[in-house]
Amino acid sequence: MNHRTYEKDGVSVLELKGTITLGAGDVTMRDVIKDLLGKEKKSIVVDLGEVSFMDSTGLGELVAAYTTARHQGATLKLANLTKKTKDLLSITQLAAVFESYDSLGEAIGSFR
């Protein structure tokens, strides 16, 4: 997993790339989210547009990020889901948990 974080219109964007699988990454999604929350960020969008492969651990990381954010009064939304990620969220019924948007712009705009 590669990642990059930046700020846009007051929203923190976490851009993920590659495979989000067990053992593949050195840094976990959870760590990055904790870091953002530690900096008092309250609006977070995870951009999944470049994620090629996700396993159950990746899904678990997303869920953990979501609940951790919520417990700290922050909001985490998803953007740019690929067909495969959409299928995975829908099969696991996590699609009902996450607020997700087809584009990053829409996701950022939704915080206004």
Binding site: L22, F53, D55, S56, G60, E61, T67
Partner: protein
């Protein structure tokens, strides 16, 4: 259990799912490390060039394999690197079967929770076996003569049979 016995590297358990002659058989035995999950995935990608797994199912079949291998390392062999896992892939004209063996005690499959239940939906774990069941056509749990635990996943090739949703 004598893992040094070379006859152990054999197609045990797969007889369950074999009805037509084999066209390909792969068996890979490695020490229990998560890093090998990528190796198995890469081998599967090569196998898919020879076995007609439908292209739109390939990523999901690979996901099932990864989940099963990760479980074998983490739950089956409890992260003990001296233990072994083995993956067998067998192709017949009708089906492609992947079996993941570990040295653990197995588990009570009837006790598995549905990760879609409201009380489980926000748990970070517990989706592996569920995804395996979703993305393969048949899942069996077996134990071989040497006490190894095996998860057998079958992908139908000839025609995709409609499967019941796990409830």
């Amino acid at each position: 259990m004598t893992l040094a016995d070379p006859t152990l590297n054999a197609g045990k358990g797969t007889s369950l799912t074999q009805s037509r002659p084999e066209t390909l058989r792969i068996s890979i035995r490695v020490h229990s490390h998560l890093k090998y999950t990528d190796l198995f995935h890469a081998v599967l990608a090569q196998v898919a060039l020879e076995i007609p797994i439908p292209a739109d199912r390939m990523d999901w079949v690979a996901l099932a394999l990864r989940e099963a291998v990760n479980n074998a390392v983490l739950h089956g062999n409890k992260k003990e690197p001296g233990k072994w896992i083995e993956v067998e892939m067998v192709g017949t004209p009708d089906a492609f079967t992947m079996t993941v063996w570990d040295e653990g005690t197995g588990f009570n499959t009837s006790k598995l929770c549905d990760p879609r239940d409201p009380e489980n939906l926000l748990k970070p774990n517990g989706r592996g076996i569920f995804l395996i069941r979703q993305f393969t056509d048949k899942v069996q749990f077996v134990r071989d003569a040497d006490g190894r635990f095996g998860l057998v996943m079958t992908v139908n090739l000839a025609q995709r049979v409609s499967k019941e949703e796990p409830e």
